[in-house]
C-alpha cells in the first residue's frame, strides 16, 4: 500500500501547485484588468480615501472634498455661496452628485478621471505623489458657469415654485453661462458618509413626482411652440422671403389636405388687415401666418435649417449625455403646418433652444456649447483649456441680422415684467401645447432671446413647465419672459 500512498502524496502536491499557479494568474497576471474593472467597488471606495479635485465657477467653489475624521478621510461637499445659501441646489444640474452608494452624475461623473486623479495628464504628478509618499490628489475642473446668473436663474424659477429650466450661453464662444433645472436637489444629501441619510435622501428624491434628479436642461425635450418660428423664419428668409412678405391674417386656418383647423392664440385676427407682413406675424406670433409660411417654405428647407442649427445632432461640447432634439417626421403639408409652429413632434431640449438663440446672436455661426472651461492639476497649474469650436455657418449673416430685427419686434410686442432700461433684447416667446388634451392642459411657457441685441453677450432659453403659476392662462410672455430678462440683466451687470 505504500506505493499508491506516495503517488497520492505527489497528486496532493500537484493539486496545491495548480492552486498556486491559478492564484498567481489571478493575482498577478490578470490583476490589472480586474482592478480596473468599473464594477470593482474597491476602486471607488479607495477614491473616498483620496482628495478629489474641485469643481469651480469663476472663483466660486461648486464642489470640493474636505477632510473628515471618519474612515473615508474626505467628504464631498457642495458648499453654499455665503450670499446665496441655495447654491448647491442651483448648481446641482452642473456638478451632479457624487455618492458612495449611488454612483455619480453630471460633471462629477463625466470629469471623473481628472477629479479622481487617474487621468493620464496627471500621471507625472501621481508618480511624484507616490514617490514622496503623499496621498494622490485629483485635478480640478473649472466650469464656464457664471455663478451670479446661475443663482438668479434658480431663484427666479423657484420663487414661484416653477418646474423648468434656464440655459444661458455666451454666443461668441458657446460657453454655457447658466444651466439650471428646478426643482433641484442638494447633492450634499447624497454625498454624506451617513448611509441612512443618503438612502433616505435617495429614496425621497426618486419617489418625488417632480423628478428633481432630472437635469431638465439637457435630459428633457419639450415642444418648442412658437419659439420654433425662429427656425422656420430663418429657413423662409434664406429662401427669399422678406419681412414685408404678406401672409394670411385669418384667425384660423385649415391644414392642407385635412379638415382640421388651427387657430391663433385667443382666436384673434393677426393685426387689423386681411393680410399681415412677416414682421407683424412674427411680432404677434400668429399661428395661421406661420402655417402658411412653413408650407410655402417646404419641409426640406425647414428640416435643413433645423439640422444646421444642431437639432438632431450630437452635442460634443457638453461632457454629459444630452437628449436628442428632433423636429419629428413630416410626412405631409398638414404635418409641416403643425410643425411650423413648434407643435406635433417637434421636441427640443432647453439647451438646444438656447443654442438657436445664440446662433442668431452670433451672426449665424453656431458655436459648440461648452461647460468645462479649464482642467487644472492639483496645484492649480493648467492641464487643458477649452477653446471655442465653430460648428459652421447655420444661417447667413444677413438672415441672422434680419431675424434679430424681427426678434426685437417680438420683444417689444411682448408684455411681462422685467424689461431692462437701456438694454435692447431680441427674443421670441412660446406657449407650447402638450398632453393628450392640449386645450385643457396648462401649456409650457418658453422664452428665448439674447442681449444686447446689436452686440450680444448673453443668449438664453427659459422654459416653465405646465404654465407655472398661471395654469391655462399662461403664456411665454407672462411666465417665462420675466425670468429670461432677469437672468440677462444679471449677466449684463456682471459683464
Amino acid at each position: 500500500m505504500n506505493t499508491p500512498l506516495r503517488r497520492v502524496a505527489i497528486a496532493v502536491m500537484v493539486m496545491v501547485v495548480a492552486l498556486l499557479a491559478n492564484a498567481t494568474y489571478v493575482q498577478v497576471i490578470k490583476a490589472d484588468n480586474l482592478r480596473a474593472d468599473p464594477r470593482n467597488s474597491r476602486v471607488l471606495l479607495d477614491e473616498y480615501s483620496r482628495q478629489r479635485g474641485q469643481i469651480s465657477a469663476a472663483g466660486q467653489v461648486l464642489a470640493a472634498s474636505v477632510p473628515t475624521d471618519d474612515r473615508y478621510k474626505y467628504l464631498r461637499t457642495y458648499p453654499p455661496n455665503p450670499a446665496a445659501p441655495s447654491s448647491p441646489l442651483a448648481n446641482a444640474p452642473v456638478t451632479g452628485f457624487y455618492s458612495m452608494q449611488y454612483g455619480s452624475t453630471g460633471l462629477e461623473r463625466s470629469e471623473d478621471p481628472v477629479l479622481n486623479g487617474s487621468d493620464n495628464r496627471l500621471f507625472g504628478r501621481r508618480f511624484f505623489d507616490l514617490v514622496s509618499g503623499r496621498d494622490p490628489r485629483g485635478g480640478n475642473v473649472v466650469t464656464t458657469i457664471n455663478p451670479v446668473m446661475q443663482q438668479v436663474a434658480y431663484d427666479q424659477l423657484t420663487a414661484k415654485g416653477y418646474t423648468g429650466s434656464v440655459v444661458a450661453i455666451e454666443p461668441s464662444t458657446g460657453r454655457i453661462l447658466t444651466m439650471v433645472s428646478t426643482p433641484s436637489y442638494d447633492p450634499n444629501s447624497l454625498a454624506s458618509h451617513d448611509g441612512t441619510e443618503t438612502t433616505q435622501a435617495w429614496e425621497a428624491l426618486n419617489a418625488d413626482p417632480e423628478k428633481p434628479l432630472i437635469n431638465r436642461a439637457v435630459s428633457q425635450t419639450y415642444p418648442p411652440g412658437s419659439t420654433f418660428k425662429v427656425v422656420v423664419t430663418a429657413a423662409a428668409l434664406a429662401a427669399g422671403t422678406t419681412p414685408d412678405t404678406q401672409l394670411t391674417a385669418a384667425p384660423q386656418i385649415t391644414l392642407p389636405g385635412t379638415s382640421t383647423t388651427l387657430e391663433n392664440y385667443n382666436g384673434s385676427t393677426c393685426g387689423g388687415a386681411p393680410t399681415a407682413s412677416l414682421r407683424e406675424a412674427f411680432a404677434r406670433s400668429c399661428n395661421t401666418a406661420f402655417v402658411e409660411l412653413g408650407v410655402k417654405t417646404g419641409a426640406d428647407a425647414v428640416g435643413d435649417q433645423a439640422s444646421a442649427l444642431g437639432i438632431g445632432g450630437q452635442m460634443p461640447g457638453v461632457p454629459f449625455p444630452v437628449a436628442d432634439s428632433t423636429i419629428g417626421s413630416i410626412p405631409d403639408d398638414a404635418a409641416l403646418g403643425q410643425s411650423s409652429i413648434g407643435q406635433r413632434d417637434v421636441a427640443l431640449t432647453p439647451l438646444q433652444n438656447a443654442m438657436i438663440a445664440a446662433t442668431v446672436a452670433n451672426g449665424g455661426v453656431r458655436m459648440q456649447p461648452q461647460l468645462v472651461s479649464e482642467l487644472q492639476s492639483p496645484d492649480l497649474s493648467n492641464l487643458a483649456t477649452t477653446n471655442p469650436v465653430s460648428e459652421g455657418q447655420a444661417m447667413s449673416s444677413q438672415v441672422a441680422a434680419t431675424l434679430t430685427d424681427l426678434m426685437i419686434g417680438s420683444e417689444n410686442n411682448t408684455s411681462g415684467e422685467g424689461k431692462i432700461p437701456g438694454v435692447q433684447i431680441a427674443s421670441k416667446t412660446g406657449t407650447a401645447e402638450h398632453g393628450t388634451d392640449p386645450r385643457n392642459t396648462p401649456p409650457h411657457a418658453w422664452y428665448i432671446g439674447f442681449a444686447p441685441a446689436q452686440n450680444p453677450t448673453v443668449a438664453i432659453a427659459v422654459i416653465v413647465e405646465d404654465g407655472g403659476d398661471r395654469a391655462l392662462a399662461a403664456t411665454g410672455g407672462s411666465v417665462a419672459a420675466p425670468i429670461g430678462r432677469a437672468v440677462i440683466a444679471a449677466g449684463l451687470q456682471g459683464g
Binding site: M1, N2, T3, P4, L5, R6, V8, A9, V12, M13, M15, V16, A18, L19, L20, N22, A23, T24, V26, Q27, V28, K30, A31, D32, N33, L34, R35, D37, R39, N40, S41, R42, L45, R71, H193, D194, G195, T196, T199
Partner: protein, 484 residues
C-alpha cells in the same frame, strides 16, 4: 567519544559505573510546544495589526481572543503530551496556526460588519469571532475527548458498519427534512433547530471514511484478485465494483437531493483514492473518473443549478449582477491584494458575500496577498503530507487507509474551496478546514484531527518490549489437577 556508539563487546571492559542507559526515543513534544508558541505569536501579532489598522487602537477584544486562543492550544498540547505522546509534532501547531489566522480574519470581518452597520444606522451585530472562540473551545474539548476515550483507533474498525450506517443517516437527514429545517442559502445541508444548527455532512464524512477503511481492509483480497487485463491496465471484476458503485450512488444522491456539489465531490474522490491505495490498481481510478464524468454529465443535463455553476465559472463577470457577483467580488479582492496584499485590516474583504465562511480564502488573498495565500496553502500541504506520512509509517492496513482517507479529504476540501474561490474550478459551497467560521466544520475537523493524531501516535510509538506473559504451554511444567 560517544559512549552510545560503542557496543558493549569483548573489546572494552565495562566502564566504571556501567554503560549509560539507552537513549529514550524522543517524543518531540518540546518541538510541538515551541511551534505552538510560534503560532500563538503570529496570531497575536496579526490581531494587533488588524486592530491597529481598523480601529486605530487596541481593544480588549484582542486580549480576550489571544488569551483564550493560547489557553485552548496549550490544553490541546498537554492532552497530546499525555494521551498521544509520540504523535507527529507538526500536525497540531499547523492546525493551531490555521485556526488562529481564521480567528483573526473573522475578527477583522466583524470589524468591517460593525462599521457598515454603523454606516447604515443598524444595530451592531454580535461579533462572530466570539462565537468562533466558543466553537473552538467546543472543538478542542471534542479533540481532547477523542484522545482520552479512543484508547486504540483499531477499535473503530470493530464498529465500522454501525458507524457507516450512522454516516449515511447523517448525510440523509437534511435531504429528508423539510426545507424550512434544512435549507440555508439554497443548500439543503443543515439540521436547523431553534438555537442550534449543524451540518451533519461534516461528521458523516468522517464516519464514512472509517467505514470504507474498515470494509476495504476486510475485502482487500477480493478486489485484488485478477480481473481483465486491458491495454496494460488491470480492470477489476464486475462483481467487485460494489463498493465504488455504492459510494458513487451516495455521492450522486447528495448532489441530487441536497444540491451539494462540494460534499458529493469530496466523498467520492476520497473513497476512490482509498480504494486505489487499498488495491494498488490504477484501473479503479479510471473507472472512478469515468463514473464521475457520467455523473457530472447527467447532473449538467438535468439540474439547472449545476448549469448555472458551470456558466458562472466560465464567465463570472458575464452575469455580474446575479450569480456571478460573489465570485467576481472574490476575484476583485484577490486582484486588489496582488502579490503582497493590502495588509491586514487595510483591504475591503467584506465586499465579498460570505467572506467569513466559504470565501475566507478570498480575504487571505486580498489582505495577505499571493504570499499569504501561498503560505496558507503550504501549511495545508504540510498538514496533508504529514498525514500521508503517518499512513506510510503506521503498521496496520486499517490505520494506513484511515490516515490516508482523513488526510486526503482535507486536501480535496482545500482544493475544492480554494479552486472555487480563485476560479480554477466551478464554485461549490465548502468551508476551509480550521479557518472558516462555523461550528460543525470546526468540531468535525478537530475530531478528524484527533483520530489522525492517535494513528500518528501509534505509528511513531517505539515497539514496546512485550511483557513477559505466562510461559508457553510447551515449557510449562506438567500440572496435576486433583480429582475432586
Amino acid at each position: 567519544m560517544s559512549v552510545a556508539s560503542a557496543s558493549p563487546g569483548a573489546q572494552f571492559p565495562s566502564p566504571p559505573g556501567g554503560f549509560a542507559p539507552a537513549p529514550v526515543q524522543s517524543t518531540r513534544r518540546g518541538t510541538e510546544l515551541i511551534l505552538i508558541g510560534f503560532a500563538i505569536l503570529i496570531t497575536t501579532i496579526s490581531l494587533v495589526l488588524v486592530e491597529a489598522s481598523q480601529e486605530q487602537s487596541i481593544t480588549w477584544d484582542l486580549a480576550k481572543y489571544a488569551a483564550t486562543y493560547s489557553a485552548l492550544f496549550l490544553i490541546a498540547h498537554l492532552a497530546v503530551r499525555r494521551f498521544a505522546p509520540y504523535a507527529d509534532p507538526l500536525i497540531l501547531p499547523i492546525v493551531a496556526l490555521l485556526n488562529g489566522l481564521g480567528l483573526v480574519l473573522i475578527h477583522r470581518l466583524d470589524l468591517a460588519d460593525a462599521q457598515s452597520a454603523a454606516y447604515f444606522g443598524l444595530p451592531v451585530p454580535s461579533p462572530d469571532a466570539n462565537q468562533q472562540v466558543l466553537w473552538t473551545t467546543l472543538a478542542i474539548a471534542g479533540f481532547v475527548a477523542v484522545l482520552v476515550l479512543l484508547k486504540d483507533y483499531r477499535l473503530l474498525a470493530r464498529y465500522s458498519y454501525t458507524l457507516g450506517l450512522a454516516g449515511l443517516v447523517f448525510l440523509a437527514i437534511p435531504a429528508i427534512l423539510p426545507s424550512s429545517f434544512s435549507e440555508v442559502n439554497g443548500a439543503k445541508i443543515w439540521i436547523r433547530l431553534p438555537g442550534f444548527s449543524i451540518q451533519p455532512g461534516e461528521f458523516a464524512k468522517i464516519l464514512l471514511i472509517i467505514f470504507f477503511a474498515s470494509v476495504l481492509v476486510a475485502k482487500r483480497d477480493l478486489f485484488t484478485t485478477a480481473g481483465k487485463h486491458v491495454f496494460g491496465i488491470d480492470l477489476p471484476r464486475a462483481r467487485d465494483l460494489g463498493p465504488i458503485l455504492v459510494a458513487w450512488m451516495v455521492s450522486v444522491g447528495v448532489l441530487v437531493l441536497e444540491k451539494d456539489l462540494g460534499t458529493s465531490l469530496l466523498l467520492f474522490s476520497t473513497v476512490l483514492v482509498m480504494l486505489y491505495i487499498a488495491t494498488e490498481r490504477v484501473g479503479w481510478l479510471l473507472i472512478g473518473v469515468g463514473l464521475l464524468g457520467i455523473g457530472f454529465f447527467f447532473a449538467y443535463q438535468l439540474f439547472g443549478h449545476v448549469r448555472v455553476r458551470v456558466s458562472t465559472w466560465l464567465d463570472p463577470l458575464g452575469d455580474y449582477n446575479n450569480t456571478g457577483y460573489q465570485i467576481s467580488q472574490s476575484l476583485f479582492g484577490l486582484a486588489t491584494g496582488g502579490v503582497a496584499g493590502t495588509g491586514l485590516g487595510s483591504g475591503r474583504p467584506a465586499q465579498v458575500p460570505f467572506a467569513k465562511t466559504d470565501f475566507i480564502v478570498a480575504t487571505i488573498g486580498e489582505e495577505l496577498g499571493l504570499i499569504g495565500l501561498a503560505a496558507v496553502l503550504m501549511l495545508f500541504l504540510i498538514l496533508v503530507i504529514r498525514g500521508l506520512r503517518t499512513a506510510l509509517a503506521v503498521r496496520d492496513s486499517f490505520g494506513k487507509l484511515l490516515a490516508a482517507g482523513l488526510s486526503f479529504t482535507i486536501a480535496v476540501q482545500v482544493f475544492v474551496v480554494v479552486g472555487g474561490v480563485t476560479k480554477l474550478i466551478p464554485l461549490t459551497g465548502l468551508t476551509t478546514p480550521f479557518m472558516s467560521y462555523g461550528g460543525s466544520s470546526l468540531l468535525a475537523n478537530y475530531l478528524l484531527l484527533a483520530i489522525l493524531i492517535k494513528i500518528s501516535d501509534a505509528a511513531r510509538e517505539p515497539a514496546v518490549p512485550k511483557k513477559k506473559g505466562p510461559a508457553p504451554i510447551a515449557d510449562a511444567p506438567t500440572e496435576m489437577v486433583p480429582r475432586s
